[in-house]
Point group: C2
């Protein structure tokens, strides 16, 4: 089977942990242990988030004032190299020495007319006091928005349209290569008025990008690994119930948190509708059980309505 597996942020860094290389490597090692058994038997594409890592690079860049901080596309490219390296090395240490690996830098096209560009909503980087946020907005042309009693920079989160490196990714899978790509949702790019591709100050949702990749690769399964062991109906209230299995249509009739479970559910539904294959959402430790529908939430066009646990 061909599987696309999206690693959530906590596969790289647990909440509250220091963002050292060692801490990230230790988390990647745990993820690698969960994923290695699947890589023995299946074609695997691994994607991953990069929020905290881009945040740290931005802070480091701001702290060293001699050189102007790099834009988001360049920071995203740096994190694809770094996180890809950790995943490739740790997984490589658990698989037979002849297993080929490739971490592929991934550029993704977004649409200049995407409504997200008129309404930046994705918070990135540190919290600022109001006056500092206003100064940064004026100096750098940032959009800022309240976050609790502080402020954060917000950037557009446009939909991914095209994965530029899709052919290399497919060729490598066909050769039996484990491929790591589309880190951080891929580097958002757009054609300018001269027809040249350029990086964009935006962040593509990782699950949306991974879902596009899974659809275009015609994956047999698309699995998103996250903090939660499944998608829940009525999340956070006493009668919350785990969704075991559901049709895309039934999932679309419910509502989920915009910043977290919402994009995952949307990506799962789109994948299930387009490919007629199933998509799973759940915990890293359950990845093998999610694949066979024994854990997590399965979204499949074959389901009728919703099964709750």
């Amino acid at each position: 089977m061909r599987l696309v597996i999206a690693l959530g942020g906590n596969a790289l860094l647990k909440r509250g942990e220091p963002m050292t290389a060692d801490a990230q490597r230790a988390n990647v090692r745990i993820a690698a242990r969960a994923l290695a058994p699947l890589a023995l038997h299946h074609e695997i594409v691994i994607t991953h988030g990069n929020g905290p890592q881009v945040g740290l690079l931005a802070l480091q860049g701001a702290a060293y004032q001699e050189v102007e901080a790099y834009p988001l596309d360049v920071l995203g490219a740096q994190t694809e190299g770094m996180i890809g390296y950790l995943i490739e090395q740790e997984l490589g240490n658990l698989l037979p020495p002849d297993k080929p690996f490739a971490t592929i830098l991934t550029q993704i096209e977004v649409d200049r007319d995407d409504p997200a560009f008129r309404d930046p909503t994705k918070p990135i980087g540190p919290l600022y006091e109001k006056h500092e946020a206003e100064r940064l907005a004026a100096d750098k042309g940032w959009s800022v928005a309240p976050d609790g009693d502080k402020f954060r920079r917000v950037v557009p989160s446009p939909r991914p349209k095209r994965v530029f490196e899709i052919r290399p990714i497919r060729w490598l899978l066909e050769q039996g290569c484990l491929v790591i790509c589309a880190g951080g949702g891929g580097i958002p790019t757009m054609y300018d008025k001269d027809g040249k591709l350029r990086g964009v100050e935006a962040v593509i949702d990782k699950d949306r990008a991974s879902g596009l990749l899974a659809r275009v690769l015609d994956a047999d399964s698309f699995i998103m690994l996250t903090d939660a062991d499944a998608v829940y109906s009525d999340w956070g209230v006493p009668h919350q119930r785990q969704i075991r299995r559901a049709s895309p249509q039934a999932m679309r009739e419910m509502s989920f948190a915009a910043g977290s479970m919402g994009p995952k559910v949307e990506a799962a539904c789109e994948f299930a509708e387009v490919t007629r294959n199933s998509s799973g959402i759940g915990s890293l430790v359950d990845v093998e059980a999610i694949l066979t529908g024994r854990a997590g939430t399965t979204v499949t066009a074959e389901a009728e309505g919703i099964d709750l646990a």
Copy 2:
């Protein structure tokens, strides 16, 4: 023809330029213009340096004290992502839209018994006053060495033994993909006593790594692009003469600067000896002429002795 082309540091950043993303992109754009015509007709692998970029990441990491700075292998991986992105995007803008590209994260194995580990010589990062260099050496276990009247950190520069991602690189070339890889000489790695691959605090010479890649890929030509328009005999003295064409044997009888032309000449000789194909050294602007022996220095086993200009 299959060509391996190593871009020198000045293809990314001219001496004295600020290290902004814009300056680097502008230089990469110039390099892309020189390389694009070749990519229309040949299988191309592009490698590149990363010295100033790793240096900046290290300075930024040191300036932001809340998180311990990343080790060299992780910084190297970051620069492979960043520089690969700039090269891939700028070259992509000059080539037909259906030309496939892949930037491949590259890990290279080095030998734990390499004599370089007993004698670190490669200077990296900023200049320090003596007392500060001594403090850093004590705190971080660095080796430091004099550089003029200041001090710098020095790390081992072991020989590359194996390119782990060689099969994906070859597969992609066979599909017509332009491949960008082995940035900064590749990420130096080594098996630990438990047989696990780990990053190493070292820097592999970019030209040596590129030469290994060119040999293993059985490239038809291996070209190193640098500041100088050719290799010179008696460089820096009034009777300096440009070496137009030479056998590896004749080149080995001469001596060249250890930190700059020496490793290039060594890599060119090794390539010419092992593959019986020719290697060229010269300026970016001359790349097409270097390939046909009309500019730069050609090292080939077919030459008899040395032809000087």
